[in-house]
Symmetry: C2
Subunit: 472 residues, 2 copies
Amino acid sequence: MPRELLLNAFDMNTVGHLAHGLWRHPRDQARRYTDIHYWQSLAQTLERGLFDGLFLADAVGLYDVYGGGPEAALEAGVQVPANDPAVLVPAMAAVTQHLGFGITANLSHEPPYLFARRMSTLDHLSQGRLGWNIVTGFLDSTARAHGQPSQTRHDERYDRADDYMALVYQLWEGSWADDAVLADPASGQYTRPERVRTVRHQGPYYQLEAIHLSEPSPQRTPLLFQAGASARGLRFAARHAEALFLPNQGLQGTAQLVQQLAGSLQAEGRPRDSYRLLTSLEVVVGRDADEARDKYADYARHARPQAALVQLASATGIDFSRYAPDEPIRPDSLGEGIQSIVRSLAQSAGHGPDGAVTVRELLAQMPLGGRINPIVGSPDEVAAALLHWADHTGVDGFNLVRTVTPECFVDFIDLVVPRLQALGRYKTAYAPGTLREKLTGHGPHLPAAHPGAQARQATACPPHAGRPAPRP
Amino acid sequence: MPRELLLNAFDMNTVGHLAHGLWRHPRDQARRYTDIHYWQSLAQTLERGLFDGLFLADAVGLYDVYGGGPEAALEAGVQVPANDPAVLVPAMAAVTQHLGFGITANLSHEPPYLFARRMSTLDHLSQGRLGWNIVTGFLDSTARAHGQPSQTRHDERYDRADDYMALVYQLWEGSWADDAVLADPASGQYTRPERVRTVRHQGPYYQLEAIHLSEPSPQRTPLLFQAGASARGLRFAARHAEALFLPNQGLQGTAQLVQQLAGSLQAEGRPRDSYRLLTSLEVVVGRDADEARDKYADYARHARPQAALVQLASATGIDFSRYAPDEPIRPDSLGEGIQSIVRSLAQSAGHGPDGAVTVRELLAQMPLGGRINPIVGSPDEVAAALLHWADHTGVDGFNLVRTVTPECFVDFIDLVVPRLQALGRYKTAYAPGTLREKLTGHGPHLPAAHPGAQARQATACPPHAGRPAPRP
């Protein structure tokens, strides 16, 4: 039986996320991102539509490749200003019961002890609805914001990240046993010290000796999302991720990517049913096809494809400002790492693999101010397209990119969700339990085969706290 | 005309804050600290009582001096588990209009770029109601939790903190000009890049080159609280603090402390009207004196003074578990730094300056499980005692320590607030504006004389972003 689609809203604590310029639309409310009631209302809307989660991106730095500085990103509001996403969670959790919250956090600059506590606190306050999208950062501007001249090299970032994860697993899974908290009013005993363990971590990058500050939260470790696509990133994902995001590379491209990724993960011992796969989609839906096309045209009039180039410049390393609109961007004129990126941009513009792409061609592919080709249509058309995407590519669901917000989600909920439900491909009620249980069918804690679960065993050892553990 | 009292509720994102054992009381709700609705309800209660703020303490480590390990703290729930306080703010801000939020954050282990963004985000989401209680930490357990063998020495912690503050002031005050955000739908311009400045900080401890990620929040720099009492701590406070906390050392002791502190700050160029002073008080009020005394006796039956010794052990460095109840703790048997602390404990127990105190005597001073002697009485008695405290010591107001919560605040609001109002010593409505404006009468930004305001000037320099600044 075909599975029900997973669905997240994809957003960011900022004005311009992935559909640049649409904050200018008269019905768009993204400029209210500093208003907590805006976020609470959005969360309630999404829960009304039985969305699995609100997925919040983050970028701890500015896009400064385009034009050799951050001016273009600032001018158009391309993911800047960008506020902290994590602190939104409790307020949204307070007005919802089931909606999950996928929070992007760059571990490279978060001190693990404080970060682990913050995540535990959010998992407590949301009653087990926290997901963490693990990122390691890639912007030089992020490195400079932390006193480093440039970004740590790619593979080493993942080595550090592995060490970081080993540490936080011990805090989340291994420091407090399930039965550590007694909270017995009669005796006055809150915690059984013999069921709490001092974590001692001496890793290559991180060292710590501490008891976790939080008692066990519903999920302990938040549901782990990851989006690594490189060979090293995939090894990291294979080890840690319970759900993965893939970039939308078009229907065929994404289908190929899913195949490659599933093969790589299989080789690392992760069968396809041990993780969820999501990709991004953008939808413009109307009550009928005409209304959808009118709406799309209206949106497109407010979009700023040029702003999307600013983000693409930092993602690819190509300063598009240096090219005239029709000047071919030749792969062989660029550094080796960038050549394959240009070839793929050229291919998506309809050129052969050796063709060169132009800025004008790139802009033409970003009618709503972003790189994702929107699905535009009637409710039936959109529902059919989504199912075709899922069935053809093999993804489990989608991160729906916000366009004009919250209108885009309201439209989707009112028009598309009922069709998907009628087709038996979308839930009609939330499953009970934590985000992990809702999304993966097991939980609330990490499955036993997950490396994080190994940290859990430690509490079965002779208990102690604050003193060296007896050698086994 | 005598001033209206300032009043904060003093709490912590934990079960046992300063009145240990009272979580056992059948009406106490502190065990709900992981429930966001508990905090929202508390915030609404405090706003009904026109409290200036909810002040949240924090401790990023465990008290492990007593018994040479953390077992005693764990057992009694002495500030452990302790969840992150900052993430509570937006949810409480969403259900209130005026209440301020004083959040304790230990800067020693918070990366300044991410921390500055988190604070800006909270100031945005609370519409300018954020205060930051700047602490540098003192527990070795905190240091070990961050990979260091022991705590940085005291004065160097403040040197680091000065450097940290110089950095975050530049992010909060100097990176975005007031008119940087245009948000013009017609042109699509969100930010004027020429009004945004890249901060370049090369301090002895912190380095950074970055644009602040957040656009200016209502207060920019949160209202700055500090509690330094050492010579170096006072120099830090004189430089940075807009409001100071003093430990409650009894009526006479606190009055002396206020005098000394005011003298020290005066010598550093801070006249008494340039900062607010608060100390902690604990109140048990009944509809009449009999009811108050019955309530106090009932509370005391649930308190655990022994647990307060655990906290006192870490605060003083004395392991009280090593003394029999009636064994004198002789100052000259202890290290030099600790001798003066024991002498002051002995004095507060009624001994002469050279006397030795016993554990039994210390316990007798902590009937509600903490070091603060509670004010117990009818509404008139409590109101009179508070005004006597304020007028005799010269503090501007109080942090009311939670006892049985939220009952203690509800009682205070229903019974004491109307008396204080009738006496003209408590506001009958909130003043408009941000927390800074409400508490200090000016704002919303730092006063011009504040060192943080110097960072502001930078935006008047020739604008640039992302490129080296022209040499002046």
